[in-house]
């Protein structure tokens, strides 16, 4: 199975997406069939790649003597690819209905599908420079999506996102080159710095790690660099749901995982100063995100802050630099993707059907939009970490990994985890209470104009919620698939 399959999986959505504005569909049906066909084909093809093509590699181009652009499927990348290829078709289905009330659909779906290919590129990158290429392209492809509505607010959000992302990417790039020039290898097949990390240039490698951590930390919304995520909440819902809950931010966390496990190995990082810094920052972000979410009353901005906190769960787990930490982080990456996309979709449906964007005026919606709010309640319970659902599993795994590591910062992380669970309950369950139990003086006729969304929107919701419940009860297969990454990341074990 030569590596060409990977190239096809990446290029089909990119070229397909680029064609959408050029073909200039005016009939809605035609555009939908075309876009959905491309997205579905890519997903199916990628899933088949994941099952059969493990380990296949393709050297695309020798850029310079020490750097070349390679694509490779390894278990760590295929987990991210699995998440993306499962969620993208559902999000596209949702986007068809959601975009009916917005203009310039061709451009939107064009860039939306291009982002799919680029995210797969990030997943299948074989070394850091290739990932940097797709990482930058992802930023450029998402800027037009954020500024889609053309309002002043959208432009500001777009510029802010651009500034944060470019700063992050350049900082990471500098870290990469520092490692490259001082003997470390950027290939993902080679684990750890090997003999390059001698005691005297250790300080430089620490600095390079911090540059890469905070560089990729921008996209994974670590505390001081998270400002762009809530402001990007103004983008259309399919963008915020898919990109700012699943694709873009997860690529940031995915990259941090690559830095921690594939460039620096456990031997270098365990107990080192940089690990303490990283753990401290991510633990603080966990608490900061949920507190800000609790204060925010704009529905999507609240969910955006919740994403800020949940991403730091994953970063915290990765920085424990133990096999259980890695698997726990990846588990939460998968589950958080599922849960958060449901919450964002419901927020989008509410805005699409009734135009309400603030959390305070959702009284009585439980009856007006039963399916949406049923899925919302299940997803909120999952995110809060109520046992039978999947959120609990990942939270439990992270806590176990932290306890196994046993350093004081790990205990601080567990405490942060619990505090954020309480606040998550605070800002999510209050919405459910307000929706299902409106106060006595509430007239149901005020919501008669609000009807439940049609099949396009509710089907993805129901499917995803079923996934949340099933994965919560029977996670065996997924945990085994994720467990496969440990031998790759810890060759010594």
């Amino acid at each position: 199975m030569t590596g060409f399959g990977i190239l096809i999986a990446i290029l089909v959505p990119i070229l397909g997406g680029a064609l959408v504005p050029l073909l200039d569909f005016d009939a809605r049906r035609a555009r939908e069939y075309y876009v959905f066909a491309i997205v579905l084909a890519t997903s199916v093809y990628t899933l088949s790649l994941l099952s059969s093509g493990q380990g296949s590699e393709l050297v695309l181009y020798h850029l310079t003597s020490t750097i070349d652009i390679t694509l490779r499927i390894d278990r760590y990348g295929s987990i991210f690819a699995l998440l993306v290829s499962v969620l993208w078709p559902l999000a596209t289905l949702y986007a068809f209905e959601y975009m009916s009330h917005l203009h310039k659909k061709n451009r939107f779906f064009g860039f939306f599908t291009i982002c799919y290919g680029i995210t797969l590129g990030v997943a299948f990158a074989g070394n850091f420079i290739t990932m940097y290429l797709f990482y930058e392209l992802l930023t450029l492809a998402t800027v037009p999506l954020i500024t889609h509505e053309g309002t002043r607010e959208a432009k500001v959000a777009g510029v802010k996102y651009l500034v944060y992302s470019i700063a992050g990417a350049t900082a990471a790039f500098i870290g990469m080159i520092a490692i490259l020039t001082h003997g470390g290898s950027l290939e993902f097949a080679v684990i750890g710095l090997g003999d390059a990390a001698t005691p005297e240039n250790r300080r430089l490698f620490d600095l390079a790690f911090l540059f890469m951590f905070f560089g990729f930390g921008v996209k994974s919304a670590i505390w001081p660099l998270h400002g762009w995520l809530p402001t990007a909440g103004v983008a259309p819902t399919p963008v915020t749901a898919l990109l700012h809950a699943v694709a873009v931010v997860k690529s940031g966390v995915f990259a941090i995982g690559r830095v921690v496990y594939f460039t620096y190995d456990a031997g270098y990082l365990a107990g080192s100063m940089v690990q303490k810094i990283g753990l401290a920052f991510s633990a603080f972000t966990i608490v900061y995100g949920t507190v800000m979410a609790w204060k925010e009353i704009h529905f999507k901005k609240r969910l955006a802050y919740s994403t800020v906190s949940n991403l730091s769960y994953i970063v915290f787990a990765f920085l424990l630099v133990t096999p259980s930490g890695l698997t726990a982080g990846l588990l939460h990456m998968m589950f958080h993707g599922l849960m958060k996309i449901v919450l964002f979709f419901v927020a989008g449906t509410v805005m699409h059907q009734s135009g309400r964007i603030y959390v305070t005026d959702l009284r009585g919606f439980g009856r007006a939009m039963p399916v949406s709010f049923a899925t919302f309640t299940i997803a909120s319970l999952a995110l809060t970490g109520i046992p039978p659902l999947c959120g609990f599993l990942s939270k439990y795994a992270i806590a176990e990994a932290a306890l196994a590591q046993g350093s004081p910062l790990a205990y601080a992380g567990v405490a942060a985890l619990l505090v954020s669970a309480v606040f998550t309950a605070a800002y999510l369950l209050t919405i459910c209470v307000r929706a299902y139990f409106p106060p006595a003086d509430f007239e149901p006729w005020s919501l008669k104009s609000v009807k439940e969304a049609n099949l396009y929107m509710t089907l993805p919701l129901v499917l995803l919620t079923a996934a949340i419940v099933l994965l919560g009860c029977f996670p065996g297969a997924l945990q085994a698939f994720i467990g496969g990454v440990v031998p790759a990341a810890f060759p010594g074990l």
Binding site: I386, Y396, L403, A426, V433
Partner: protein, 436 residues
Amino acid sequence: MTQLFTLLKISDGLAIQFGADGLGRMFLCLDTVMWILVGIYAFKYKEHMKHTKRFFAFYLLTYLMLAALSMAANYLTMYLCFEFMTLLSMPMVLQDGTPESIAAARKYLMYSIFGATLGLLGFFFSAHYGAGTVFTPGGLLDPAKVAGNESKLLVVAFLSIAGFSAKAGMFPLHAWLPTAHPVAPAPASAVLSGVITKAGVLCILRVMYQVYGASFLAGTWVQKALIVLSLITVFMGSMMAYGEDLLKRRLAYSTVSQVSYVLFGVFTLHPVALLGALLHVIYHSIIKDGLFLGAGAVIFTNHKEYVSQLHGMGKRMPVTFGCFTVCSLGLIGIPPFAGFLSKWYLAAGSLSEGLPVLSWLGPAVLLLSALLTAGYLLPISIHGFFPGEGEKEAEGKEAPFQMLFPMLVLALGVVVFGVFAQPLADALLRIAEAMF
């Protein structure tokens, strides 16, 4: 735990399992009896309510979760049932939909979820340091793993027990109880006070005796701190009840103080005291349900909510006030009635425990609060039956028979269990011994 029924095996360390043991069976019987009686009462009370279908749905779901909780065989299942019980009992609190009830429900939700999260902390540590996962009398901690870090585990034990005691209304996390009960409809507050607080007690019993093990916690600062907290709550609850004019809030404060009687017995880690605690669990449920149903009857028939409005009501509602008086006497601990025996065993257990100061301070506080209980309960009956010349007597008619019947049964229970308590005490002693 005899035989285990595994509902769902998530992964090797995590499974939802159920199993019956003495403690579980006792709590299940208690819940079932109370649920039936209050149910009968609620069928009549529902004319007074809107959204009745919703109320009864959540009424039954809460019962489901309580039953599951008492049958839970491992920490995970217990935590699951505890969380869901909070979520399902919350709609009963905001049944009327008034702004205060919604605020009270949100407060109740937040306190309970905060408590449950501390419980979750306990679960993480027990899963890490524990040998197995199923509750085993004497504790499931693996001595090898625990060797180095007792201090950490003690802190976690204190936090998780304090977390579960939020549901039982112990001092630092009790504030939701006095706000939630008055706004809830009478059957809901009866169930909330009488039975759901006992769920918190059950979780504490499981955690203290069957996760950490009595031997691990005996004599440690955790036990002393918890006893002090429960004594503070006992005293504070009755003081607050004493000054309260709203009848249901007075009874809520009384619940706060009485449940801490039970907790005091549990925290002394002595078989006799534990027997007293278990006995008081049963007696308090019966008595407090009776009191709340009485209060509910008064509100339902004559819309009187404040104690000061009840002067001379006894003549108008003889049966209600009769049962109310019997239950009050039981709660105060007058010998022939139910309350006395449990307080007796509590005092005996604490004295024989031998903790330096607390062994005698405990019974002293219990006695003092018994006086206060008399102080805030007896005036209601006395003014009810003998209003005194000057005041204007309240008019009103007797409650319908369907509401009186449960009150009569409960009053009868108070008398029967007071007099023929021996078989119940023996059964509970066997359960208490099995816990160590």
